[in-house]
Structures are given as C-alpha cells and as structure tokens.
C-alpha cells in the first residue's frame, strides 16, 4: 500500500496536468454541443418538414456510431478529402458534434415538455412565434433540461477518455506514458480511475446544488428536496 502511495505521489503531477486538458476538452465539447444542439432542437420542434431529414441524418450518424469511429473518421479520414485538423481540434470537433446530437435530443424533450398552453397564451397576448419561443417556452425548457444536461456533462468527462488514441495529451495519455515508463499499468489506471471518481463526484455535487438553486418555487417540488 505504501508502495502505491509513493507511486501516486510521483505520478500525480503529470496526471493532474492531463486532467486539466481533460477538463478543457469537456468544457469545449459542451459549449460546441450547446451551439449545435439548441438550434438543432428548435429546428426539430418548430422547423419546416424540409429540414427534418437533415436533422435526422445528423442525429443518426452521431448517436448511432461509437465516438471512437467518429474520432477516427475526423482525424484520419477527413484529411483524405483535404480537410485536416490538429489533434486537439479533431478532439474538440468530434466531441462537440457528438454532444450536439445528444444535447439536441435533451432540448427537444424539454421543449416538448413545456405545455402547449404556454405558447397559446403567448400568442394570445400578441407575441410572435419567435417571441413566444424566446421569452416563454425557452426559459422554461432551459430549466427543465438541467438534469439531463448535468448527465451530459458527467458523461462528457468520461467520453473524453478516448482522445488519447489520437495522442491528445489528456489524463489517459499521461497515464499511458507513465504506465509504460514504470511498468505499473494497474497502479496507474487505478489512480486514473480515482481521479475520474473525484472529478465526477465533485461535479455531481456542484450540479445538484445548481439544480436546487434554479428551481422555480412551487414547481419542481422533487428537485427542491421538500
């Protein structure tokens, strides 16, 4: 056991460096995913019939294939047709587009969970469809989406773990280097697992706090923890 702690003390600085990259990737992917997912969900719910096949194709590809395939297609495949990205860019783009597809579905669910009467009432006081979406439906949908979005955040922390396969210097990449340098794969990956555990646990607590803070009084009674 003391051996393990000594190794941990030695390996930790490097691993934490990788953890920072992991967190950056997570944050970047979530933002890109938001920028893609929210408009896409609006198209899904309010868009014309014409755009639906495009949305469906996007969702099918990104939700129907493993992230690993997407990463390899973007990083190794696309240069073949003249589109090349750096390792980091490829990681951000793949994770972001993937998250966009999932976030689209979460937003769509939340928008559809806002009762129809809300839009009717908004139109009733003379709001345009766009105003109704912006001032009445979206503010409510964004609150409803928080639990699903929190899950997406947690999931994304874990999903980033495959980008080491294109040599992005994240937590896993550092682990791989350390484990082969020291011939200590088990200790290294147990340490990595512990770091993810702490990360995910901490983020869950923070997100839970945010959820409680943003709850509408009287509504979402469950979330208020009454």
């Amino acid at each position: 056991m003391t051996e393990f702690f000594a190794y941990a003390a030695m390996a930790l600085p490097d691993l934490l460096q990788g953890t920072v990259v992991t967190l950056k990737l997570t944050a970047g992917a979530l933002v890109i995913g938001l920028v893609i997912g929210l408009p896409l969900s609006l198209l899904r719910v309010y868009g014309r019939k014409l755009v639906q096949p495009v949305c469906t194709a996007y969702l099918t590809v990104f939700r129907g294939t493993p992230l690993l395939v997407q990463l390899f297609v973007v990083y190794y495949g696309l240069p073949e047709i003249g589109v090349s990205f750096s390792r980091m860019a490829a990681a951000f783009i793949t994770l972001g587009c993937n998250s966009g597809a999932y976030q689209c579905e979460y937003f769509r669910g939340a928008i559809q969970a806002v009762s129809k009467g809300q839009m009717t009432a908004a139109r009733g006081i003379g709001m345009s469809r766009f105003q109704g979406i912006r001032h009445i439906v979206l503010p409510q949908a964004l609150r409803l989406v928080i639990p699903a979005w929190s899950n997406e955040l947690i999931a994304m922390v874990k999903y980033t773990a495959i980008v080491f396969l294109i040599a992005v210097p994240d937590l896993m990449n550092k682990a791989k280097i350390l484990s082969s340098q020291n011939f200590a794969p088990i200790q290294t990956y147990v340490l990595v697992a512990l770091i993810y555990l702490v990360l995910v646990g901490f983020l869950s607590l923070v997100l839970h706090g945010i959820q409680r803070k943003l709850a509408v009084p009287g509504l979402d009674a469950g979330m208020e923890g009454r």
Binding site: G126, P217, L219
Partner: protein, 261 residues
C-alpha cells in the same frame, strides 16, 4: 337589453365558418359586438363555442367569413395576427400562466416584450391591473404557488395589461373548484360594470343572467338564438334553447354572483 348607445361596433363577425379537416365546427356565424357590451355565449359542450372564440383573435384561422375590429378587417390576407391579438385580451380555461415568471412578471412580460414599454411603466401598470383583480399582494409569487381562482385572476390581469379593446373569456371558471369560481366571476362582473367589452363562453347561467347584455345560444356550430338574458332565460323562442336551459338549470346550485368576498 340594457340601454346602450348603438355606436359603431367594436367587433363585427360576418358569416364566420371554421372546419377542422372535413368537420365543420363553426357554421355561418354573424354578430356585432358594441362598445361596453357583455356577451355570454352558452350551449352544450362541443358546439363550437370555444372554437368561435379562438377564431375571433385568430388563434384559429377561420375557414371563411370576415371579422372586423373597429372597421379594420382582421381576416384580410396580409394582416399581422400578432398586432390583432395584442388588441384583444384572452383568458383561458386552463389559465396558461407562464410558469417561470412571477405574478408580476406574467403581467409585465407582454407589455415589455410585445408593446415595448419601459420596465418601470410596465410594472406600474401591472400593479394597477393586479389591484383591479385583487392580486397585488401576491405579486412576487409564482403560478405554482397560487390557487386556481388566484391563477385565473392573474390571467385576467395579464390580458388587461395589454389594454385590450375586447376581452375574450374561454370558459374561465370551468377548471375551477366550485368554491373558487365566485372570486373570478366577481372580478369579471366588476370589469363589466367598468365598461369593458367582453365576450364570454361560460356555463355559469347565474352569471350570464346578471352580467350579460346579450346571451347567445349556440347549437351545432350555429347561433340558434340570441337576446337579452331576461327574455332568453324566461321566454326562449327556440325549442332547443328551452330544452338546453331546462337541463342545465335543473339542480343548478350556482352561488349567487357578486356577493362573494
């Protein structure tokens, strides 16, 4: 009919028809609404009353026929529906209060976002309207913290905030527990007394009798009969009206209107 000067109508409905697919719901309905007039539309469920009402502010597009709001044809093509709707207040059976906004926010949102009023002015006016419906003290609460009757009073204030030319009430008390209808009807009666032009779809016969200037009885999407409440309730001309009234007034235990606190 109470004596009211026969001025230019606020709203004029000409040969209005509405079908959903092949099913006609409103058939060839025509009537005028004069300033300060209170019209109560009665009839059994599924006779097109609510659809008619929602056609008036274009929440449903009429299939044919014309509607004029103060001489302007709002059914004309190229007419902006949103501009039309902000001149008519609508109160819904299911309240449809905006769940994410406070009571005050529900009333101001239309003024600030639709009419472009400065927030301070909107708040001042909203407080006035909330005062009118007796909900000023609850301004910081959220809809989920209110009773049904309170929600509906906020719904009325929200509509009033837009300074509408006509108020449309779509079964405003149908979703309420019986003991909560009084407070809403009282507010509506007060509005009527203040001279608001109102069209109300309702099953509250007591209210129709006391507050209406004219009662319209609808059957099968058509206007079967209309007239002042006194005559309609005591000597209906149509056999169908008589039948409907006899069914609905038997065992009617509506509390007296206007005496609720």
């Amino acid at each position: 009919m109470k004596d009211k000067p026969m001025t230019r109508p606020v709203l004029r409905i000409e040969n209005l028809c509405k079908s959903f697919g092949a099913t006609p719901v409103v058939r060839d309905v025509s009537f005028d609404v004069h300033p300060s007039e209170v019209i109560v539309i009665i009839g059994s469920s599924g006779t097109g009353k609510s659809t008619l009402l929602q056609c008036l502010n274009l929440l449903h597009r009429p299939t044919s026929g014309r509607i004029f709001l103060e001489d302007q044809e709002i059914t004309a093509s190229g007419m902006n529906e949103d501009t039309v709707r902000r001149q008519m207040g609508m109160v819904f059976q299911e309240f449809n209060l905006f769940n994410h906004l406070t009571v005050l926010g529900n009333v101001t949102v239309g003024m600030t976002k639709v009419l472009g009023m400065p927030a301070e002015d909107a708040e001042k006016k909203a407080m006035n309207e909330l005062e009118r419906v007796g909900m000023a003290d609850h301004r910081h609460k959220y809809p989920a913290q209110l009773s049904g009757g309170q929600k509906q009073r906020v719904g009325i204030a929200r509509a009033l905030g837009m300074s509408p030319k006509v108020m449309l009430f779509d079964e405003p008390t149908s979703a309420l527990d019986p003991e909560l209808t009084g407070e809403v009807l009282t507010v509506m009666q007060k509005l009527a007394a203040e001279g608001m032009t109102m069209i109300i779809v309702s099953h509250e016969m007591g209210f129709a009798r006391e507050a209406a200037d004219r009662v319209i009885f609808m059957e099968n999407g058509r206007i079967e009969e209309q007239g002042p409440p006194d005559r309609m309730f005591t000597h209906p001309e149509s056999e169908r009206t008589r039948k409907f009234l006899s069914i609905i007034t038997t065992g009617n235990t509506d509390p007296p209107i206007g005496k609720a606190t």
